[in-house]
């Protein structure tokens, strides 16, 4: 099963020890292809480790927009033995493998970072296919499957480059090897050298010394592979296209951070955690903010002592009227639960950007999962209103961030914006973001007339009981508007009250915001229905980062005459029951697709709409769902598979 068409739709992978520059090499490759006019989707995989463990970056290149990864690898770029051991069996027939020819004799057991389980799997694979248990064996195995292998003597090449540049030190700089490896792959794919050089200039532009040596090494490798190997019979090709106009290449955490800047978030707190910290660090690096009026603003980013401090500090800041957020992942979010209830009780707008990763506990700290949906919805003791919103891709992360702040202020409550590692750490070509969205601040006021402040006891009533559950909100420090907040049940002024009647009224006031949210939020923000001319019989439900993989699988199925539709639920709480019911109306088959063990969205849909889920496709091995495996699972269901629950296990 392949999603690649060999020309202009390719899956490329580079691997290497963590800390060896895999990321920046992948960036250079992605930029090179983007400059050639191609759409990019890149996925990062790494261990919870600083240096040495195996990390890899998969990049899909296509002449059509791409938003997911595939199982197949068409081009495997390596400069260590482990990358070949771990990935060569996934390289497609006719696929290309670039490796370090000096490592050909490396024995599997000599690679200390290949863990016992993986080592056993690889050994078995090689034994079963009658190959020797070393890198050569792996390459022979790949060749037997129709792969083409290209050995490069990197360090000999590096010495030649060092001599050419008259810089003997250069031969010791192993990082240049990465660039040689990608340059070789670019040469094999038939991409012109100019775009590669231009991409290297963008990445190393600020470091002239590095720039020169990288360009020299890249050029040498680019030509070297062409002279050493016959490249005519390579089936994978990239033919230049017109450049993509007005397109960005960025990660989900960057998209969310830029969304925060545009949304007017001027205070963010965080405690370091993977994969959420990237966003805060991006905000810190861009803390001085340009304004359309020519003046400048700024965002204060505070690193706190823990996540409890992160959320409570954010709430304290929000009370002063500033748009405020905190960003975290599952373990940190667990610590935030109590304070979330305080924000709900005191009707404080707050955005919590929640980057899910694989749990429970520390789980797989650098890997993928969508397992915090029900936790996010139910976080905190007691009952209070909150909004839970989940974005499906990098572009949505940007626009949804702005919406999250609008919801937080309009309804005066905490908003949990669910993202996950498959969005935050992946990169994608997106249409340049626009500022089409308005800032909606609801009943927020900066000044209060003296006569408005005369409540029951002559005080401003922050929690005034009226027809609307939304009261006038002012920053603390506003004249004529002194009020109190307390986590206790409280009066309209905010003083503690244990009165039964007041309790009911205040509970009603707060909880009614959920009904109001369902009235006011646009349908597209509640759920999207992607209909591939389907008759509506076969419906997939999903949420979050699985969107891209599902849509591409559906497109392929549709081309084959199997028309299905996708309901992407975006507002998870309050649950948009009517909208989802409407989309499910004629469904004969409902298939739930999500990256967790218990099909959390499935149970929400069942609970809220009464519609049973017919099939569940789940995954919890820490690797995101590829469009390949979604396609295969759907195909199995359509062809009468009796398994009601399919567990996907793709990924390395």
């Amino acid at each position: 099963m392949s999603f690649s068409t060999s020309v202009n739709s390719i899956s490329w992978l580079i691997g290497g020890p963590q800390g060896s520059g895999v990321d920046s090499s992948a960036n250079i490759f992605a930029k090179t292809c983007a400059k050639e006019g191609f759409y990019i989707f890149g996925k990062r995989e790494f261990y919870s480790n600083i240096k040495g463990e195996h990390s890899y970056f998969t990049i899909r290149i296509s002449d059509k927009p791409v938003n997911s990864h595939v199982e197949d690898i068409n081009v495997l770029v390596s400069f260590d033995a482990e990358t070949v051991f771990r990935h060569a069996d996934k390289v497609s027939t006719g696929g290309l493998i670039i490796y370090d020819s000096s490592l050909a004799e490396t024995v599997l057991e000599e690679v200390p970072t290949i863990d016992f389980e993986a080592s056993n799997r690889i050994r078995k694979l090689l034994e079963d296919s009658g190959q020797s248990i070393n890198l050569n064996g792996m390459l022979e195995f790949a060749k037997s499957r129709g792969c083409m292998v290209y050995g490069l003597p990197y360090f000999e090449m590096l010495e030649t480059v060092a001599q050419k540049m008259n810089d003997p030190k250069l031969s010791k700089i192993s990082r240049v090897v990465n660039v040689m490896a990608i340059a070789a792959s670019i040469s094999l794919l038939g991409i012109k050298k100019d775009m590669l050089i231009s991409a290297i200039q963008e990445v190393f532009g600020s470091k002239p010394k590095l720039l020169d040596s990288n360009i020299e090494a890249a050029e040498y490798a680019y030509y070297y592979i062409g002279t050493k190997y016959n490249t005519k019979n390579i089936k994978y090709k990239i033919t230049p296209k017109d450049a993509l106009k007005d397109h960005l290449l960025l990660s989900g955490s960057q998209a969310a951070a830029i969304g925060k800047i545009l949304a007017g978030c001027r205070f963010q707190t965080y405690y370091p955690i993977t994969p959420a910290s990237d966003e805060s660090e991006f905000l810190e690096s861009n803390h001085i903010i340009d304004q359309v009026d020519g003046k400048s603003g700024s965002i204060v980013v505070v690193q706190t002592e823990d996540e409890i401090a992160a959320i409570t500090m954010a709430i304290g800041a929000s009370l002063t009227g500033v748009r405020t957020a905190t960003a975290t992942s599952g373990p940190g979010f667990s610590l935030m639960a109590e304070a979330l209830g305080w924000a709900g009780m005191n009707e404080v707008p707050l955005v919590v950007t929640m980057y899910q990763r694989a749990g429970p506990s520390t789980g797989l700290p650098t890997r993928h999962e969508q397992s915090d949906l029900l936790f996010a919805i139910n976080a905190g003791h007691g009952e209070f209103p909150k909004i839970v919103l989940a974005s499906g891709d990098i572009e949505e992360s940007f626009y949804d961030t702005i919406k999250a702040f609008n919801f937080a202020e309009t309804f005066q409550l905490p908003v949990i914006h669910l993202l996950d590692k498959a969005i935050s750490s992946s990169i994608q070509t997106c249409k340049r973001f626009n500022n089409s969205l308005n800032i909606e601040r609801g009943e927020f006021k900066n000044t209060i007339d003296k006569n408005q402040s005369e409540g029951a006891a002559g005080h401003f009533q922050r929690f005034k009981l009226e027809d609307s559950p939304i009261s006038t909100r002012v920053p603390i420090g506003t004249e004529n508007a002194i009020f109190w907040n307390t986590g206790d049940e409280h009066t309209e002024e905010g003083h503690i009250s244990e009165d039964t009647e007041n309790r009911n009224k205040m509970m009603d006031k707060r909880m009614k915001k959920l009904d109001l949210a369902l009235e006011k939020i646009n349908q597209d923000d509640m759920a999207m229905c992607y209909d591939f001319d389907s008759d509506g019989n076969n419906v997939i439900i999903s949420w979050g980062s699985t969107k891209g993989g599902i849509l591409e699988a559906l497109e392929k199925l549709s081309q084959e005459g199997n028309k299905m539709k996708l309901i992407q639920v975006r507002l998870l709480h309050p649950f948009p029951t009517e909208t989802v019911k409407k989309f499910l109306k004629d469904a004969k088959l409902v298939i739930d697709v999500e990256m967790n063990y218990t099909s959390q969205l499935g149970s929400l849909v069942q609970q809220n709409t009464g519609r049973e889920i017919d099939y569940k496709i789940v995954k919890y091995n820490g690797r995101p769902m590829s469009t390949t495996e979604i396609y295969i699972a759907l195909k199995a269901i359509l062809s009468g598979n009796n398994e009601r629950r399919i567990v996907l296990d793709g990924g390395t």
């Binding site: 450049a243 960025l250 001027r266 800041a317 002063t320 420090g477 109190w484 907040n485």
Partner: protein, 321 residues
């Protein structure tokens, strides 16, 4: 502007602290300090944690934010960083600030945000019926304890010192004038100020009672011998005028902090304004911070369009051909 009177800082909320509670003295002292300083009522915000002390804001007629158990400092710091123009006062209990909130106590010391923080220190968890608090000493058995305390106590003054608080003082809730003056000094201090307020719990602490502090039960000479003494009266001045004084002063403060029993020092142990506040640290990299802190910034125009211009950020990420 009419002069604000003490009564202006009082609410009509029924005060349900136990009769004779030391908290009353602290409440009065805060209200007196605000009156003497003529802090505009809307500019003052009292943040509190949870427990008997947590109710304090409801009795003061200024903005009052009654937060979560142990979390008063991060709440208060967030507000003060977002709007440094506010006059924020943080209050809490000893269990609140030195037990469940001890991590924040240390974290706040490192930041040195410009707020005063008062701990109502009575060695017991009053509102939950008298369990041992982090300041109850090892082996002491207050009224509700089944057995003598099996945990040792934390030393609040020493902890504040090593955590980086730049103003450290102690006062006593029944010496309202001393307490009021100390609070005023804490409010005017530039940086994070800690005031450890000794405050007898008449209901659950039958050891450290008002009489115990007065030394009525310690009558070797036939008359009461007060345990509390004022360090200023011994000629001590805790102000750091030059960095070279810090080491000697720290040693002296640690000595003060370990005095207990017959001689309990109160007063200002330490004040060091040579250390930049968190706000000044922000302003080093963000020149307009004081003029335009987070809470003062415009974020949208008249048509509700975002005022931020993200072009330069997007340009960097844009694919260039």
């Amino acid at each position: 502007m009419a002069e604000l009177k003490l009564a202006d800082y009082k609410t009509t909320v029924h005060n349900d602290w136990c009769p004779g509670c030391g908290d009353f003295g602290i409440l009065n002292a805060i209200q007196m300090a605000l009156t003497e300083m003529q802090v505009p009522r809307h500019k003052a915000i009292i943040f509190s944690g949870i427990g008997c002390s947590g109710k304090t804001p409801h009795f003061i007629n200024v903005y009052g934010i009654h937060t979560l158990h142990g979390r008063v400092l991060p709440f208060a710091q967030g507000a003060k960083i977002a709007n440094p123009d506010l006059q924020i006062i943080a209050v809490g209990g000893d269990g609140d600030g030195l037990g469940i909130g001890a991590g924040h106590f240390v974290g706040a010391g490192r930041k040195n945000v410009d707020i005063p923080y008062l701990i109502f220190n009575n060695a017991v968890y009053g509102l939950t019926k008298g369990q041992a608090s982090p300041t109850l000493r090892l082996g002491e058995k207050t009224k509700s304890l089944v057995t003598p305390n099996t945990s040792n106590s934390v030393n609040p003054i020493a902890l504040a010192l090593v955590s980086g608080f730049t103003f450290i003082a102690r006062s006593y809730s029944y010496d309202v004038k001393h307490l009021k003056d100390t609070i005023k000094r804490a409010i005017t201090h530039k940086g994070l100020a800690f005031v450890d307020v000794l405050q007898p719990c008449p209901t659950y602490d039958d050891i450290h009672t008002r009489e115990w502090f007065q030394g009525i039960n310690k009558q070797e000479t036939g008359k009461a011998m007060p345990r509390i003494y004022k360090i200023e009266e011994t000629g001590y001045d805790g102000t750091i005028k030059d960095e070279s004084e810090i080491n000697d002063k720290m040693t002296r403060i640690l000595q003060f902090s370990s005095e207990w029993g017959d001689k309990i020092p109160i007063g200002i142990f330490y004040q060091n304004e040579l250390i930049p506040s968190y706000h000044e640290r922000i302003a080093e990299n963000n020149k307009e911070y004081f003029a335009k802190p987070p809470s003062h910034q415009e974020i949208s125009d008249r048509e509700n369009k975002p005022i931020a211009n993200i072009d330069k950020i997007l340009d960097k990420l844009q694919i260039k051909d």
